[in-house]
Symmetry: C2
């Protein structure tokens, strides 16, 4: 039985992850899944783009220890309050009880900042910009779901230190540019919303949440950017000597994204027949399927191998599927895996000097010239990327609805309305509707409404149910 995405998104999602064999949830610890070869390949391509972007913006890749001593973890009060109920504790090693208990990092502020205090001495050491791609851990108590809510999280985090608040602010703007380039590769639309005071990262000055919309109208936070001001540099004593010999606290930012990026790619693009991989991160961008008929097997195979060699040499990731199966079975397999482009090659194609193609995203079929196949494939893959992003943007847009009264709240929508910004009105709204205020736009939007609760002057704010 095929589950339908539009009928029950949650069940459909679980089914697609399993059918495409992206991860195996039968591992005997809840919320800790095994990355299978195909899922891991996709995640690693996403990581590759993250590395490219971070390296190009002069971040250094580092790798900090997983285990953080309780004493370091507890230095920033809001931070520990935010994570206390979510961390795993290592209490014993070998046959000994540890003197100082260790936590598995839920994020690495408290691992990195004692070292930053040693590394940063002078204004010449700044900006300090590092990142790592590592496993992190959170003891989730909600229902777990592959890639979206897991207890061992494949995580990217960058951490920066700056001389001034403004320089830190510029870093946040750079982070947003990096996000934009990455999101294009994943064909994901997103919104940037400054979270409420009660929802910001524990210890942050402010938090920008990066959200994308799932087809069920719920939002999924795929990452976040934080400005810490000196909230961490004070307790961790990260200071620098400025040009005048004065000692000052560094201003800090962080940027984090996780395997939720993959969860978002599945949720946004896949359909009832399987995954649809954005070409930039597809393990195979095209699959070549030979169409044999009587007596032409050798010739067709030879041409298919030539096509494979041609495309591979041009830098495409291509699979030549020469298994002893009927073409229809192969189509089915590669549809589940979401290969963006299927190339068929039979006797008539060869006679005509063409290759028949079928797009995974919209089913469109046609032919390209065999002799200039790389150029043809390149064009189609670009068109697929553009179409995926365009379609996803339209879906995201279609879920957003302006409201001006709390008496008339539609289901499964992302709501935009006015909010005066006070906590009381914010909580009143959230409590009444089981909706979360996602925040005010990071990039200002034109708006002239009043607070939906108290009627006072207001900024626009978005609210939704979250995944």
């Amino acid at each position: 039985m095929t589950l339908r995405k539009e009928d029950d998104f949650n069940e459909w999602y679980i089914d697609i992850v399993e059918k495409a064999n992206l991860s195996d949830k039968r591992y005997p610890v809840k919320g800790m899944n095994v990355w299978t070869a195909y899922g891991w390949k996709i995640m690693r391509s996403i990581d590759t783009f993250i590395r490219q972007e971070l390296d190009a913006t002069e971040h250094d890749e580092v790798c900090f220890p997983l285990l953080i001593p309780e004493t370091e973890f507890k230095k920033e009060k809001d931070h520990i309050k935010g994570f206390d109920s979510e961390v795993y504790w290592v209490t014993h090693a070998g046959l000994n009880e540890l003197d100082v208990r260790l936590i598995l990092r839920p994020t690495s502020e408290t691992a990195m900042y004692p070292m930053f205090a040693l590394w940063v001495r002078s204004h010449q050491d700044l900006p300090l910009k590092v990142y790592q791609i590592v496993n992190t851990f959170r003891y989730e108590t909600k229902q777990t779901r592959a890639f979206m809510r897991v207890r061992e999280i494949h995580f990217f985090e960058s951490h920066t230190c700056h001389t001034t608040e403004e320089d830190a602010q510029r870093q946040i703007e750079e982070d947003v540019e990096i996000l934009d380039r990455l999101a294009k590769r994943l064909c994901l639309p997103y919104s940037l919303l400054v979270r409420t005071e009660w929802d910001k990262f524990p210890g942050a000055h402010y938090t920008v949440g990066i959200d994308t919309v799932m087809p069920n109208g719920r939002t999924l936070q795929i990452g976040s950017v934080h400005h810490y001001r000196t909230n961490f540099s004070v307790p961790y004593e990260i200071t620098y000597e400025d040009e005048n010999g004065e000692h000052k606290h560094a201003h800090q930012t962080t940027y984090g994204m996780s395997e939720r990026l993959l969860g978002a790619v599945i949720g946004v693009h896949a359909d009832d027949a399987g995954l649809i991989m954005p070409p930039d991160i597809a393990p195979f961008q095209a699959v070549i399927i030979p169409i044999y008929s009587k007596n032409n097997a050798d010739a067709v195979r030879q041409e298919a191998q030539k096509l494979f060699a041609l495309l591979t040499a041009a830098g495409f990731r291509v699979k030549f599927d020469d298994r002893d199966l009927r073409p229809g079975n192969k189509y089915y397999d590669w549809e589940i895996k979401g290969v963006p482009l299927r190339l068929e090659l039979g006797g008539r194609d060869i006679e005509n000097g063409v290759v028949t193609f079928a797009r995974r995203d919209n089913g469109e079929k046609g032919t390209i010239d065999a002799s200039s196949a790389p150029a043809g494939v390149d064009l189609i893959l670009d068109a697929i990327s553009a179409a995926l992003l365009d379609k996803a943007k339209k879906v995201q847009q279609s879920h957003i609805q302006d409201i001006d009264s709390i008496d008339d709240i539609p289901e499964d929508r992302i709501l935009r309305f006015g909010w005066c910004g006070c906590e009381e009105c914010g909580h009143r709204f959230e409590d009444a509707h089981d909706l979360k205020i996602l925040g005010t736009p990071f990039i200002p939007e034109e708006f002239d409404g009043k607070c939906i609760i108290c009627g006072k002057p207001a900024k626009p704010v978005y609210a939704a149910r979250t995944m």
Copy 2:
């Protein structure tokens, strides 16, 4: 003060790791160091070669959870006995005590094999060949040392399942071929020795240790390959249905290497002036240093930039060091970092159409044609790789000494002698000399000595002090 490698290898090693800024050991958990940018870059190049080799031999990269339930960990009796005193225990999550305690993987047999039992059904599923590159944990009680003996270990491990013992044996031979190609890139000589029964991996049928020799005459195990036969597949119930419908247990192997590869590269190649990076894994293979004199700065800078562009376009990893420092200071910095080739460009070089080079490994200087610089650099880098391996092989060889009596044991040597193979003689030798029997050659060697203890017919065996 410069520490001398030949005077005190241990102190010299600690000093070099710190000077070259490969890792920071000031992290507040003993034996858990921070990978700094330069160290991590080198480790990641080593990982890249491991991935290339494993992908080319049809292993799938996967990623298993870090945490292993105590119940799974305890299924194979010898294995748990071997690791019981070395594992970290997670006993609490959030504010709760866990029902089933979890260990941080010291290696992943007990994480993977419950899943292999689900994945392997039929002989058509075999061979199953997977690998991962992950962090593992061992509660080392001995003195820790960067990369060589740490408590969080950057680790590569491949795990395979086969229908027969012979097929598993062929896998071991493939592993040895992979090792040989990798070791060439790292310019590391190595030996393959079948470990004694009391020193093999807990649960293994047999273990091949991969050792290299440090300049102090001690050996460092840089990896190991294990044949498990069905020792794990029986308790973990990894069975397949053969062509005749019979259910049989799979034969298994593993192959593991770690950040010790980097420790070995430092220990074997570096000298009193700093690192010497094998060209294949050097973050920068060449550094270009402009030699400015009066009034020629613009011209020299321009030529240096052209050279940089030329070499980068040819695929070399090159640094153009245009800092406002005297050339001598730059030489010093890049010597510590071990950049294999220094390229100097001054007014006279430009007039003569050449680039002056200096090799890091042997100090040799000369010139290459500027117009064909990529070809020249390629030749020199190849020569450096060959010279590093050749020199290291000679050092390794010079440490090996045949002995035929236990009364006359030289210091700081790798000893070769006859051993009948019985445990009693083996233990008598080890206890009397504080030496470890490393094992018998995996690739048979000609030998006609008798057992050094009992005088019975013997196989050759190697013994040494270990790092």
